[in-house]
Amino acid sequence: MSTTEYASAVAAVKTLESSLLTRSDMDQLINTPTLSELKTLLNSKTHGETLTDVWEMLSGYAPDCEALKILLYKNDFHNLKAVLKAMLSGRDPAHYYISPSNVSLEAIKNAYTSKSPDGLPAYMRIPADEAYELATRTLDGQLSDSLIDTAAIAAMQKSADDCGNEFIIKYAQLTTVCADIKTAYRCSIMHKSNQFLETAICGSRELDKASLIRAALSGRDGFLNYLSNTPYAEAAELLKNSPAQFEKWCDDIITEHAETARMQAFGAEPLAAYYIAKEAELKNIRIISICRECGTDRETITERMRRLYV
Protein backbone atom coordinates (compact mmCIF):
# COMPACT_ATOMS: atom_id res chain seq x y z
CA MET A 1 0.00 0.00 0.00
CA SER A 2 1.26 3.46 -0.91
CA THR A 3 2.33 5.54 2.08
CA THR A 4 0.25 8.47 0.80
CA GLU A 5 -2.84 6.37 1.50
CA TYR A 6 -2.28 7.35 5.12
CA ALA A 7 -2.25 11.12 4.41
CA SER A 8 -5.58 11.73 6.09
CA ALA A 9 -4.87 9.48 9.06
CA VAL A 10 -1.44 11.00 9.65
CA ALA A 11 -2.81 14.56 9.50
CA ALA A 12 -5.53 13.65 12.00
CA VAL A 13 -3.02 12.00 14.30
CA LYS A 14 -0.72 15.04 14.12
CA THR A 15 -3.64 17.20 15.23
CA LEU A 16 -4.33 14.80 18.10
CA GLU A 17 -0.68 14.82 19.15
CA SER A 18 -1.13 18.40 20.38
CA SER A 19 -3.58 17.09 22.97
CA LEU A 20 -1.11 14.55 24.43
CA LEU A 21 -0.12 15.31 28.01
CA THR A 22 3.19 17.09 28.41
CA ARG A 23 5.80 16.88 31.16
CA SER A 24 4.28 19.92 32.87
CA ASP A 25 0.83 18.27 32.79
CA MET A 26 2.35 15.22 34.48
CA ASP A 27 4.07 17.40 37.10
CA GLN A 28 0.77 19.13 37.73
CA LEU A 29 -0.89 15.74 38.26
CA ILE A 30 1.88 14.55 40.59
CA ASN A 31 1.67 17.72 42.64
CA THR A 32 -2.10 17.88 43.14
CA PRO A 33 -2.68 18.29 46.88
CA THR A 34 -5.40 15.64 47.25
CA LEU A 35 -6.57 12.45 45.53
CA SER A 36 -9.95 13.94 44.64
CA GLU A 37 -8.24 16.90 43.00
CA LEU A 38 -6.05 14.45 41.08
CA LYS A 39 -9.16 12.65 39.80
CA THR A 40 -10.84 15.92 38.79
CA LEU A 41 -7.72 17.11 36.99
CA LEU A 42 -7.30 13.75 35.26
CA ASN A 43 -10.87 13.82 34.01
CA SER A 44 -10.46 17.31 32.66
CA LYS A 45 -7.23 16.41 30.87
CA THR A 46 -7.94 12.96 29.49
CA HIS A 47 -11.77 12.73 29.42
CA GLY A 48 -11.45 9.10 30.49
CA GLU A 49 -9.95 8.03 27.17
CA THR A 50 -8.76 4.41 27.07
CA LEU A 51 -6.39 2.58 24.73
CA THR A 52 -9.42 0.87 23.21
CA ASP A 53 -10.80 4.30 22.26
CA VAL A 54 -7.44 5.22 20.76
CA TRP A 55 -7.26 1.98 18.78
CA GLU A 56 -10.81 2.38 17.48
CA MET A 57 -10.05 5.92 16.45
CA LEU A 58 -6.86 4.87 14.64
CA SER A 59 -8.68 2.00 12.93
CA GLY A 60 -11.29 4.47 11.76
CA TYR A 61 -8.72 6.75 10.20
CA ALA A 62 -6.26 4.20 8.80
CA PRO A 63 -7.08 2.75 5.39
CA ASP A 64 -5.34 -0.47 6.42
CA CYS A 65 -4.49 -1.56 9.95
CA GLU A 66 -2.45 -4.64 9.03
CA ALA A 67 0.89 -3.01 9.82
CA LEU A 68 -0.44 -1.75 13.15
CA LYS A 69 -1.88 -5.04 14.37
CA ILE A 70 1.51 -6.06 15.71
CA LEU A 71 1.10 -3.44 18.43
CA LEU A 72 -1.69 -5.51 19.92
CA TYR A 73 0.12 -8.85 19.89
CA LYS A 74 1.13 -8.56 23.53
CA ASN A 75 -2.54 -8.05 24.47
CA ASP A 76 -3.60 -10.95 22.21
CA PHE A 77 -1.19 -13.35 23.86
CA HIS A 78 -1.91 -12.04 27.33
CA ASN A 79 -5.56 -12.80 26.65
CA LEU A 80 -4.65 -16.27 25.44
CA LYS A 81 -2.81 -16.94 28.72
CA ALA A 82 -5.56 -15.44 30.82
CA VAL A 83 -8.41 -17.27 29.11
CA LEU A 84 -6.57 -20.60 29.23
CA LYS A 85 -5.86 -20.31 32.94
CA ALA A 86 -9.32 -18.96 33.78
CA MET A 87 -11.02 -21.78 31.91
CA LEU A 88 -8.83 -24.46 33.46
CA SER A 89 -9.54 -23.10 36.93
CA GLY A 90 -13.26 -22.66 36.28
CA ARG A 91 -13.27 -18.85 36.49
CA ASP A 92 -14.84 -16.29 34.20
CA PRO A 93 -12.22 -15.33 31.53
CA ALA A 94 -13.98 -12.03 30.88
CA HIS A 95 -12.44 -10.66 34.09
CA TYR A 96 -8.94 -11.16 32.75
CA TYR A 97 -9.44 -10.17 29.13
CA ILE A 98 -7.81 -6.89 28.15
CA SER A 99 -8.55 -4.74 25.16
CA PRO A 100 -7.76 -3.54 22.56
CA SER A 101 -6.99 -6.90 21.04
CA ASN A 102 -6.96 -8.41 17.56
CA VAL A 103 -8.75 -11.49 18.89
CA SER A 104 -12.09 -11.43 20.64
CA LEU A 105 -12.74 -13.17 23.93
CA GLU A 106 -15.32 -15.38 22.20
CA ALA A 107 -12.80 -16.53 19.59
CA ILE A 108 -10.32 -17.63 22.26
CA LYS A 109 -13.02 -19.26 24.37
CA ASN A 110 -14.39 -21.11 21.35
CA ALA A 111 -10.92 -22.31 20.40
CA TYR A 112 -10.56 -23.96 23.80
CA THR A 113 -14.10 -25.24 24.26
CA SER A 114 -14.26 -26.72 20.76
CA LYS A 115 -10.61 -27.90 20.94
CA SER A 116 -10.16 -26.36 17.53
CA PRO A 117 -8.03 -23.23 17.13
CA ASP A 118 -9.24 -22.55 13.56
CA GLY A 119 -11.10 -19.42 14.66
CA LEU A 120 -7.88 -17.86 15.92
CA PRO A 121 -5.42 -15.91 13.75
CA ALA A 122 -2.71 -18.11 12.19
CA TYR A 123 -0.01 -16.74 14.53
CA MET A 124 -1.93 -17.95 17.60
CA ARG A 125 -3.10 -21.40 16.56
CA ILE A 126 -0.02 -23.48 17.32
CA PRO A 127 0.84 -21.70 20.60
CA ALA A 128 -2.80 -22.03 21.74
CA ASP A 129 -2.72 -25.76 21.07
CA GLU A 130 0.69 -26.31 22.63
CA ALA A 131 -0.05 -24.21 25.71
CA TYR A 132 -3.28 -26.08 26.33
CA GLU A 133 -1.56 -29.43 25.98
CA LEU A 134 1.30 -28.31 28.25
CA ALA A 135 -0.96 -26.80 30.89
CA THR A 136 -3.24 -29.84 31.08
CA ARG A 137 -0.36 -32.31 31.03
CA THR A 138 2.03 -30.65 33.47
CA LEU A 139 -0.38 -28.37 35.40
CA ASP A 140 2.53 -25.93 35.35
CA GLY A 141 1.04 -22.51 34.65
CA GLN A 142 4.43 -20.85 34.56
CA LEU A 143 5.64 -23.17 31.81
CA SER A 144 2.58 -22.61 29.62
CA ASP A 145 2.86 -18.87 30.25
CA SER A 146 6.47 -18.82 29.15
CA LEU A 147 5.58 -20.84 26.06
CA ILE A 148 2.91 -18.28 25.13
CA ASP A 149 5.21 -15.34 25.89
CA THR A 150 7.89 -16.77 23.63
CA ALA A 151 5.32 -17.46 20.93
CA ALA A 152 4.14 -13.85 21.18
CA ILE A 153 7.64 -12.56 20.54
CA ALA A 154 8.23 -15.03 17.71
CA ALA A 155 4.90 -14.07 16.10
CA MET A 156 5.81 -10.40 16.43
CA GLN A 157 9.18 -10.94 14.77
CA LYS A 158 7.66 -12.94 11.93
CA SER A 159 4.86 -10.45 11.27
CA ALA A 160 7.34 -7.57 11.38
CA ASP A 161 9.63 -9.30 8.87
CA ASP A 162 6.65 -10.15 6.66
CA CYS A 163 5.36 -6.57 6.57
CA GLY A 164 8.88 -5.27 5.82
CA ASN A 165 8.27 -1.91 7.50
CA GLU A 166 11.52 -0.72 9.10
CA PHE A 167 9.73 1.01 11.96
CA ILE A 168 7.76 -2.10 12.85
CA ILE A 169 10.82 -4.34 12.48
CA LYS A 170 12.75 -2.16 14.93
CA TYR A 171 9.75 -2.12 17.29
CA ALA A 172 9.64 -5.93 17.25
CA GLN A 173 13.40 -6.08 17.77
CA LEU A 174 13.32 -3.78 20.81
CA THR A 175 10.34 -5.62 22.28
CA THR A 176 12.15 -8.94 21.83
CA VAL A 177 15.35 -7.68 23.41
CA CYS A 178 13.52 -6.27 26.44
CA ALA A 179 11.46 -9.44 26.93
CA ASP A 180 14.52 -11.69 26.60
CA ILE A 181 16.63 -9.65 29.01
CA LYS A 182 13.78 -9.61 31.53
CA THR A 183 13.20 -13.37 31.28
CA ALA A 184 16.88 -14.31 31.30
CA TYR A 185 17.54 -12.06 34.30
CA ARG A 186 14.68 -13.58 36.30
CA CYS A 187 15.73 -17.09 35.33
CA SER A 188 19.32 -16.38 36.37
CA ILE A 189 18.11 -15.36 39.83
CA MET A 190 15.73 -18.29 40.15
CA HIS A 191 18.31 -20.78 38.81
CA LYS A 192 15.93 -22.11 36.17
CA SER A 193 16.91 -25.15 34.17
CA ASN A 194 18.27 -25.21 30.65
CA GLN A 195 15.02 -26.86 29.54
CA PHE A 196 12.93 -24.02 30.93
CA LEU A 197 15.18 -21.41 29.37
CA GLU A 198 14.89 -23.12 26.00
CA THR A 199 11.13 -22.54 26.17
CA ALA A 200 11.22 -19.08 27.71
CA ILE A 201 13.91 -17.30 25.68
CA CYS A 202 13.16 -16.25 22.14
CA GLY A 203 16.45 -14.78 20.93
CA SER A 204 17.09 -12.13 18.31
CA ARG A 205 19.79 -10.91 15.97
CA GLU A 206 21.16 -8.63 18.72
CA LEU A 207 21.05 -11.11 21.60
CA ASP A 208 21.11 -14.65 20.33
CA LYS A 209 19.28 -17.38 22.16
CA ALA A 210 22.23 -19.67 22.90
CA SER A 211 24.33 -16.87 24.45
CA LEU A 212 21.41 -15.65 26.53
CA ILE A 213 20.74 -19.15 27.87
CA ARG A 214 24.41 -19.72 28.64
CA ALA A 215 24.59 -16.38 30.46
CA ALA A 216 21.38 -17.01 32.41
CA LEU A 217 22.63 -20.45 33.50
CA SER A 218 25.80 -18.85 34.87
CA GLY A 219 23.81 -16.96 37.53
CA ARG A 220 22.89 -13.30 38.09
CA ASP A 221 26.42 -11.90 38.06
CA GLY A 222 27.38 -13.96 35.02
CA PHE A 223 24.31 -12.77 33.17
CA LEU A 224 24.91 -9.11 34.03
CA ASN A 225 28.52 -9.49 32.99
CA TYR A 226 27.41 -10.91 29.63
CA LEU A 227 24.90 -8.10 29.16
CA SER A 228 27.54 -5.47 29.96
CA ASN A 229 29.45 -6.58 26.88
CA THR A 230 26.50 -6.18 24.51
CA PRO A 231 24.97 -2.98 23.07
CA TYR A 232 22.56 -3.18 26.02
CA ALA A 233 25.14 -2.47 28.73
CA GLU A 234 22.87 0.29 30.03
CA ALA A 235 20.24 -2.33 30.83
CA ALA A 236 22.81 -4.32 32.82
CA GLU A 237 23.70 -1.25 34.84
CA LEU A 238 20.05 -0.53 35.60
CA LEU A 239 19.33 -4.14 36.56
CA LYS A 240 22.21 -4.04 39.04
CA ASN A 241 20.73 -1.02 40.79
CA SER A 242 16.97 -1.14 40.33
CA PRO A 243 14.74 -3.51 38.35
CA ALA A 244 12.05 -0.77 38.42
CA GLN A 245 14.39 1.54 36.53
CA PHE A 246 15.05 -1.28 34.05
CA GLU A 247 11.28 -1.61 33.46
CA LYS A 248 11.18 2.12 32.82
CA TRP A 249 14.11 1.81 30.41
CA CYS A 250 12.22 -0.88 28.46
CA ASP A 251 9.25 1.43 28.00
CA ASP A 252 11.45 4.43 27.29
CA ILE A 253 13.40 2.86 24.43
CA ILE A 254 10.11 2.00 22.72
CA THR A 255 8.92 5.60 23.08
CA GLU A 256 12.33 6.82 21.90
CA HIS A 257 11.91 4.65 18.84
CA ALA A 258 8.39 6.02 18.30
CA GLU A 259 9.85 9.52 18.23
CA THR A 260 11.64 8.67 14.97
CA ALA A 261 8.22 8.69 13.28
CA ARG A 262 7.38 12.21 14.45
CA MET A 263 8.90 13.83 11.38
CA GLN A 264 7.19 11.52 8.90
CA ALA A 265 4.39 13.04 6.86
CA PHE A 266 3.08 9.79 5.39
CA GLY A 267 2.83 6.09 6.18
CA ALA A 268 1.60 3.96 9.04
CA GLU A 269 4.52 4.90 11.32
CA PRO A 270 3.05 8.10 12.81
CA LEU A 271 -0.10 6.13 13.67
CA ALA A 272 1.90 3.43 15.42
CA ALA A 273 3.92 6.14 17.17
CA TYR A 274 0.75 7.83 18.40
CA TYR A 275 -0.53 4.55 19.82
CA ILE A 276 2.80 3.98 21.60
CA ALA A 277 2.71 7.57 22.87
CA LYS A 278 -0.79 7.13 24.20
CA GLU A 279 0.22 3.83 25.82
CA ALA A 280 3.08 5.61 27.64
CA GLU A 281 0.78 8.45 28.65
CA LEU A 282 -1.82 6.09 30.11
CA LYS A 283 0.88 4.10 31.89
CA ASN A 284 2.15 7.31 33.48
CA ILE A 285 -1.36 8.20 34.58
CA ARG A 286 -1.75 4.74 36.09
CA ILE A 287 1.59 5.07 37.92
CA ILE A 288 0.61 8.47 39.29
CA SER A 289 -2.84 7.27 40.39
CA ILE A 290 -1.59 4.10 42.07
CA CYS A 291 1.42 5.75 43.70
CA ARG A 292 -0.69 8.61 45.02
CA GLU A 293 -3.21 6.16 46.45
CA CYS A 294 -0.39 4.23 48.13
CA GLY A 295 1.10 7.42 49.51
CA THR A 296 4.36 7.15 47.56
CA ASP A 297 6.44 10.32 47.76
CA ARG A 298 6.49 12.67 44.79
CA GLU A 299 10.19 12.22 44.02
CA THR A 300 9.72 8.47 43.60
CA ILE A 301 6.70 9.02 41.35
CA THR A 302 8.71 11.44 39.20
CA GLU A 303 11.53 8.89 38.96
CA ARG A 304 9.11 6.26 37.71
CA MET A 305 7.58 8.46 35.04
CA ARG A 306 7.97 7.01 31.56
CA ARG A 307 9.48 9.04 28.74
CA LEU A 308 6.87 11.17 27.01
CA TYR A 309 6.42 11.46 23.27
CA VAL A 310 5.80 15.22 23.38
Binding site: A7, S8, A9, A11, A12, K14, L16, E17, A265
Partner: protein, 158 residues
Protein backbone atom coordinates in the same frame (compact mmCIF):
# COMPACT_ATOMS: atom_id res chain seq x y z
CA UNK B 1 -4.34 20.50 -46.36
CA UNK B 2 -1.92 18.39 -44.28
CA UNK B 3 -4.22 16.97 -41.62
CA UNK B 4 -1.34 15.22 -39.79
CA UNK B 5 0.25 18.57 -38.89
CA UNK B 6 -2.89 19.99 -37.28
CA UNK B 7 -3.59 16.64 -35.61
CA UNK B 8 -0.15 16.67 -33.98
CA UNK B 9 -0.68 20.22 -32.75
CA UNK B 10 -4.07 19.28 -31.28
CA UNK B 11 -2.49 16.28 -29.57
CA UNK B 12 0.06 18.72 -28.11
CA UNK B 13 -2.69 20.97 -26.75
CA UNK B 14 -4.47 17.94 -25.32
CA UNK B 15 -1.25 16.70 -23.67
CA UNK B 16 -0.67 20.08 -22.01
CA UNK B 17 -4.06 20.14 -20.35
CA UNK B 18 -4.26 16.38 -19.79
CA UNK B 19 -0.97 15.66 -18.01
CA UNK B 20 -0.78 18.93 -16.08
CA UNK B 21 -4.39 18.35 -15.09
CA UNK B 22 -3.63 14.83 -13.87
CA UNK B 23 -0.72 16.17 -11.80
CA UNK B 24 -2.94 18.80 -10.22
CA UNK B 25 -5.78 16.38 -9.59
CA UNK B 26 -3.46 13.95 -7.82
CA UNK B 27 -1.80 16.73 -5.81
CA UNK B 28 -5.02 18.45 -4.79
CA UNK B 29 -6.56 15.10 -3.95
CA UNK B 30 -3.68 14.12 -1.70
CA UNK B 31 -3.71 17.43 0.17
CA UNK B 32 -7.49 17.17 0.40
CA UNK B 33 -7.17 13.82 2.16
CA UNK B 34 -4.64 15.20 4.63
CA UNK B 35 -6.74 18.34 5.13
CA UNK B 36 -9.85 16.28 5.80
CA UNK B 37 -7.93 14.39 8.49
CA UNK B 38 -7.08 17.65 10.26
CA UNK B 39 -10.54 19.16 9.86
CA UNK B 40 -12.16 15.98 11.22
CA UNK B 41 -10.34 16.61 14.50
CA UNK B 42 -10.23 20.42 14.48
CA UNK B 43 -12.70 22.11 12.06
CA UNK B 44 -11.28 25.55 12.93
CA UNK B 45 -8.21 24.81 10.81
CA UNK B 46 -10.24 24.59 7.61
CA UNK B 47 -9.16 27.95 6.17
CA UNK B 48 -5.47 27.27 6.77
CA UNK B 49 -5.46 23.85 5.15
CA UNK B 50 -7.55 25.12 2.24
CA UNK B 51 -4.70 27.41 1.12
CA UNK B 52 -2.37 24.42 1.05
CA UNK B 53 -4.89 22.39 -0.89
CA UNK B 54 -5.14 25.08 -3.56
CA UNK B 55 -1.40 25.18 -4.27
CA UNK B 56 -1.05 22.04 -6.44
CA UNK B 57 -4.08 23.14 -8.46
CA UNK B 58 -2.11 25.71 -10.47
CA UNK B 59 -0.41 23.17 -12.76
CA UNK B 60 -3.79 22.28 -14.20
CA UNK B 61 -4.44 25.95 -14.90
CA UNK B 62 -1.05 26.32 -16.60
CA UNK B 63 -1.87 23.32 -18.76
CA UNK B 64 -5.23 24.83 -19.66
CA UNK B 65 -3.61 28.18 -20.47
CA UNK B 66 -1.02 26.49 -22.69
CA UNK B 67 -3.72 24.49 -24.49
CA UNK B 68 -5.85 27.61 -25.13
CA UNK B 69 -2.87 29.59 -26.43
CA UNK B 70 -1.89 26.74 -28.70
CA UNK B 71 -5.43 26.22 -30.02
CA UNK B 72 -5.72 29.93 -30.60
CA UNK B 73 -2.36 30.05 -32.38
CA UNK B 74 -3.25 27.22 -34.75
CA UNK B 75 -6.64 28.74 -35.44
CA UNK B 76 -8.81 26.04 -33.93
CA UNK B 77 -10.51 28.47 -31.53
CA UNK B 78 -11.13 31.00 -34.29
CA UNK B 79 -12.73 28.35 -36.47
CA UNK B 80 -10.12 28.50 -39.26
CA UNK B 81 -7.42 25.86 -38.62
CA UNK B 82 -3.99 26.74 -39.99
CA UNK B 83 -2.45 24.60 -42.68
CA UNK B 84 0.39 23.05 -40.72
CA UNK B 85 3.11 20.81 -42.08
CA UNK B 86 4.02 17.66 -40.19
CA UNK B 87 7.19 19.39 -38.94
CA UNK B 88 5.17 22.34 -37.64
CA UNK B 89 2.71 19.97 -35.99
CA UNK B 90 5.58 18.20 -34.29
CA UNK B 91 6.94 21.56 -33.13
CA UNK B 92 3.64 22.39 -31.45
CA UNK B 93 3.55 18.95 -29.90
CA UNK B 94 7.10 19.52 -28.61
CA UNK B 95 6.11 22.96 -27.29
CA UNK B 96 3.44 21.39 -25.14
CA UNK B 97 5.80 18.89 -23.52
CA UNK B 98 7.48 21.15 -20.91
CA UNK B 99 4.24 22.05 -19.17
CA UNK B 100 2.72 18.60 -19.78
CA UNK B 101 5.58 16.66 -18.17
CA UNK B 102 6.68 19.19 -15.55
CA UNK B 103 3.03 19.90 -14.72
CA UNK B 104 2.36 16.21 -14.10
CA UNK B 105 5.33 15.62 -11.82
CA UNK B 106 5.38 18.99 -10.08
CA UNK B 107 1.66 18.71 -9.32
CA UNK B 108 2.22 15.40 -7.57
CA UNK B 109 5.38 16.60 -5.81
CA UNK B 110 3.70 19.81 -4.71
CA UNK B 111 0.79 17.76 -3.42
CA UNK B 112 3.16 15.72 -1.24
CA UNK B 113 4.90 18.86 0.03
CA UNK B 114 1.59 20.57 0.78
CA UNK B 115 0.20 17.43 2.48
CA UNK B 116 3.30 17.41 4.68
CA UNK B 117 2.65 21.11 5.30
CA UNK B 118 -0.81 20.15 6.55
CA UNK B 119 1.08 18.39 9.36
CA UNK B 120 2.55 21.78 10.35
CA UNK B 121 -0.93 23.30 10.45
CA UNK B 122 -2.06 20.34 12.55
CA UNK B 123 0.67 20.59 15.16
CA UNK B 124 1.81 24.21 15.01
CA UNK B 125 -0.89 26.34 13.36
CA UNK B 126 1.09 29.52 14.00
CA UNK B 127 3.78 28.28 11.64
CA UNK B 128 1.46 27.35 8.78
CA UNK B 129 3.07 30.04 6.58
CA UNK B 130 6.27 28.00 6.51
CA UNK B 131 4.39 25.00 5.17
CA UNK B 132 2.86 27.18 2.45
CA UNK B 133 6.27 28.60 1.46
CA UNK B 134 7.85 25.16 1.26
CA UNK B 135 5.07 23.82 -0.94
CA UNK B 136 5.12 26.97 -3.07
CA UNK B 137 8.81 26.42 -3.90
CA UNK B 138 7.78 23.54 -6.16
CA UNK B 139 5.67 26.01 -8.14
CA UNK B 140 8.84 27.65 -9.53
CA UNK B 141 9.49 24.72 -11.85
CA UNK B 142 5.93 24.63 -13.13
CA UNK B 143 6.18 28.35 -13.91
CA UNK B 144 9.48 27.86 -15.73
CA UNK B 145 7.95 25.06 -17.81
CA UNK B 146 4.93 27.23 -18.60
CA UNK B 147 7.22 30.03 -19.71
CA UNK B 148 9.16 27.73 -22.02
CA UNK B 149 5.97 26.28 -23.51
CA UNK B 150 4.55 29.76 -24.17
CA UNK B 151 7.81 31.01 -25.74
CA UNK B 152 7.89 27.97 -28.00
CA UNK B 153 4.24 28.30 -29.03
CA UNK B 154 4.69 31.97 -29.99
CA UNK B 155 7.94 31.42 -31.81
CA UNK B 156 6.88 28.64 -34.14
CA UNK B 157 6.40 30.21 -37.51
CA UNK B 158 3.20 29.25 -39.28
Amino acid sequence: MNSLGIALAIIGAACASLFAGIGSAKGVGLVGEAAAGVVSVDPNKFSKVLILQLLPGTQGLYGLLTAILMLSRIGIIGGSPADLSTAQGLMFLGASLPIAIVGLFSGIAQGRAAAAGVGIVAKKPDHSGKGIIMAAMVETYAILALLVSILLIYNISI
